[in-house]
């Protein structure tokens, strides 16, 4: 149980700067998910917290203790790796006990802790097996067990679910969440999967090109994305973006084809004539309106369907419609005003609420 505080974490690989000053405070018992596309620096950040990588600048505090210069083992943290990284020649029991033995715990303590962790994870029957005799999900559990027995201040997860098949991934996702709640250990979870991020995290850090684009709760990020990158990254299919210009009265925006879309009142401080990007999620589109969409692809998903098409102005849009696919090839649509997002066209930042 601990608080993790990162301030101004900078990392250079040679001449390339991959992290541009990350600040983050993780509360005691909180589960923070770091999410981003590959190459955004999320794994590097995690490895700096773990001590496997040295930061070029900035400090890492765990419970107000500066651990920036400490070895991984001295930081009192445990990590679950993507490929599990179990010791192939050791039995499950020894895999979990190894770290404890090095720390010089007594035989009884080790046995008790491993047994408890094994019971918690349903591994009691497998303690005498070797990793190669286990399935992917079981290996994953052993890797978690190895972290749990250490009773660390901090859990680090480096894409632990990406080697599992889809069904198992969903099951293990729920299991990790339950376990983290139950143990109440402060956790940092890295993933590229937005569904994992949304479901697991108390808060998310959306990383983009070495910066934290937004740090907020999952719903906050979904409802009020800080910029077009976050808006496009979270949500599936991605948010639709339409270039527009704010009208003279600053209450609506003109699309490139001349159609005028009203803005939700009192939410965005827009200047008349400002170039903006309107964002609307595929599920927030009504089927009556001035925009004409020519359908070119329909993906039925059972309970709903995703419709891809092109507007008269040439912009591509995706729609999520409940029920069976529409039979028409052309739809008249409009964004639902209350769900409209407005971003500055130049900076990509969300327009602030009016002062």
């Amino acid at each position: 149980m601990a608080e993790l505080k990162l301030s101004g974490i900078v990392k250079n690989f040679g001449a390339v700067r991959v992290l541009h000053g990350i600040d983050l405070v993780v509360q005691d018992g909180e589960m923070i998910v770091i999410v981003g596309a590959s190459g955004c620096g999320k794994s590097t950040l995690l490895r700096i917290v773990a001590g496997l990588e040295r930061s070029t600048g900035g400090t890492v505090l765990i419970d107000d203790r500066d651990v920036t210069a400490l070895e991984p083992a001295a930081r009192d943290i445990a990590m679950v790796f993507q490929n599990y990284a179990l010791y192939p020649h050791m039995r499950v029991f020894d895999n979990m006990a190894y770290g404890l033995r090095i720390r010089g715990l007594s035989k009884e303590d080790i046995k008790r802790r491993v047994q408890e962790a094994a019971d918690l994870l349903g591994l009691s029957e497998l303690l005498d097996r070797r990793p190669r005799e286990l399935s992917g999900g079981q290996r994953q559990r052993v890797a978690m067990g190895r972290a749990i027995v250490r009773e660390p201040k901090l859990f680090l997860f480096d894409e632990p679910l990406s080697n599992l098949d889809a069904k198992l991934r969903v099951a293990m996702r729920a299991e990790i969440k339950r376990l983290q709640r139950r143990l109440g250990v402060t956790s940092l979870f890295v993933t590229h999967d937005q569904v994992e991020a949304m479901t697991l995290g108390d808060r998310l850090v959306v990383m983009h090109e070495g910066r934290a684009a937004q740090i907020a709760s999952p719903m906050e990020i979904f409802e009020r994305p800080a910029d077009t990158y976050v808006a496009g990254f979270i949500g599936s299919p991605s948010m639709n973006f339409l270039p527009a210009t704010i009208t003279e009265d600053a209450k609506a925006a003109t699309l490139s084809d001349g159609n005028i879309i009203a803005l939700p009142p009192g939410q965005f401080a827009a200047r008349p004539g400002q170039k903006v990007t309107l964002g609307i999620r595929p599920e927030h589109i009504s089927l009556t309106g001035p925009l004409r969409l020519t359908i070119d692809l329909v993906e039925p998903l059972g309970s709903e369907c995703v419709v891809h098409g092109k507007l008269a102005s040439g912009e591509i849009m995706a729609l999520r419609l409940p029920g069976a696919p529409p039979s028409a090839t052309v739809l008249d649509i409009a964004p639902r005003t209350e769900h409209l997002h407005v971003f500055d066209a130049e900076t990509g930042k969300r327009l602030p609420p009016p002062a």
């Binding site: 943290i77 790796f81 190894y98 770290g99 190669r132």
Partner: protein, 294 residues
């Protein structure tokens, strides 16, 4: 298995589908086996006859009656005519040399490979290439400078002089390095998180994972050490540290007075240890050469 498969549907032209091709395969195999085994058989049979038989120019293909006498003679006294050393002493010397070379090579090369594969330090690649390049300098090439060094150190006619110059091994270092590179980084990192330092990681993870590789190298290097001839020939002049390979060659006099039956008995004895090692370690040996899944 093979029979069953053939009886179902044997593709035309495949061995086994017709009896004549089958027979040809067997003939070739039998010839091959004979080619390899016949000399050994002749030596084995020769060692069981008295001096006269081979002296007359016969090549006996059946066992004679002198086996016990011949073997006990060489084992205990060696070749009396040449004031030779008993084969038991020479075998002992050879065993000491082969085992120490093997252990030395494995120990030194696994440690240097560990350093080169897992640590980053200034000049790492320089060291690696320096080791790599020595592959091009086998004992035979550097034999005179090596002899000079050994003799200046006063190590002629000692075990140390016999063994130390043969211990450095670029081949084994390379093999271990290649194997170490297949150990995933995450495993190293997991051990770091668990608090294992470099020595602990080496002892608890790297060594156990290398067991099959070590076994395979053990076989290869033991045979290499046992068969050393040129270097022992140079560096030993005293009979105390004479190895079996030297002993055998010394037994061959000029054509007339060579006691072939004793030479053959000695040869058979010299064959036994490598054969025993290969047979005993065969399972591990094959595993070490074949196994990739870790």
């Amino acid at each position: 298995m093979a029979e069953a498969r053939n009886s179902i549907a044997a593709p035309v032209g495949m061995a086994g589908s017709n009896p004549r091709a089958d027979m040809l395969t067997h003939v070739v195999l039998v010839l091959g086996v004979l080619l390899f085994a016949l000399p050994i058989w002749i030596v084995l049979m020769g060692s069981t006859h008295d001096a006269g038989t081979i002296g007359r120019g016969d090549v006996p293909l059946l066992p004679g009656a002198e086996a016990a006498a011949n073997y006990s003679a060489v084992w205990n006294q060696g070749n009396k005519q040449r004031a030779g050393v008993p084969v038991s002493t020479m075998m002992f010397n050879s065993a000491i040399m082969a085992l120490l070379i093997t252990f030395g090579k494995i120990a030194i090369s696994i440690i240097s490979a560990y350093a080169v594969a897992f640590f980053s330090f200034p000049g790492r690649m320089l060291f690696f290439w320096a080791i790599f390049i020595t592959l091009m300098l086998p004992v035979e090439v550097r034999i005179f400078p090596t002899f000079q060094v050994v003799s200046d150190l006063g190590l002629v006619n000692t075990y140390a002089g016999l063994i130390v110059p043969l211990i450095a091994s670029a081949t084994a270092t390379l093999l271990f390095r290649q194997f170490f590179l297949t150990i995933p980084d995450e495993l190293v990192e997991a051990a770091k998180m668990d608090g294992a330092g470099p020595i602990r990681f080496f002892k608890d993870v790297v060594l156990p994972l290398s067991a099959t590789n070590i076994a395979a190298l053990f076989v290869i290097l033991f045979v290499y050490g046992w068969n050393q001839y040129l270097w022992p020939l140079l560096v030993t002049t005293s009979t105390d540290v004479e190895t079996i390979m030297i002993g055998i060659v010394k037994m061959l006099g000029s054509q007339g007075d060579t006691e072939w039956h004793l030479v053959m008995a000695t040869t058979v004895l010299a064959l036994l240890p490598p054969v025993a090692i290969v047979i005993l370690m065969q399972r591990w040996f094959v595993k070490g050469l074949v196994e990739t899944e870790k």
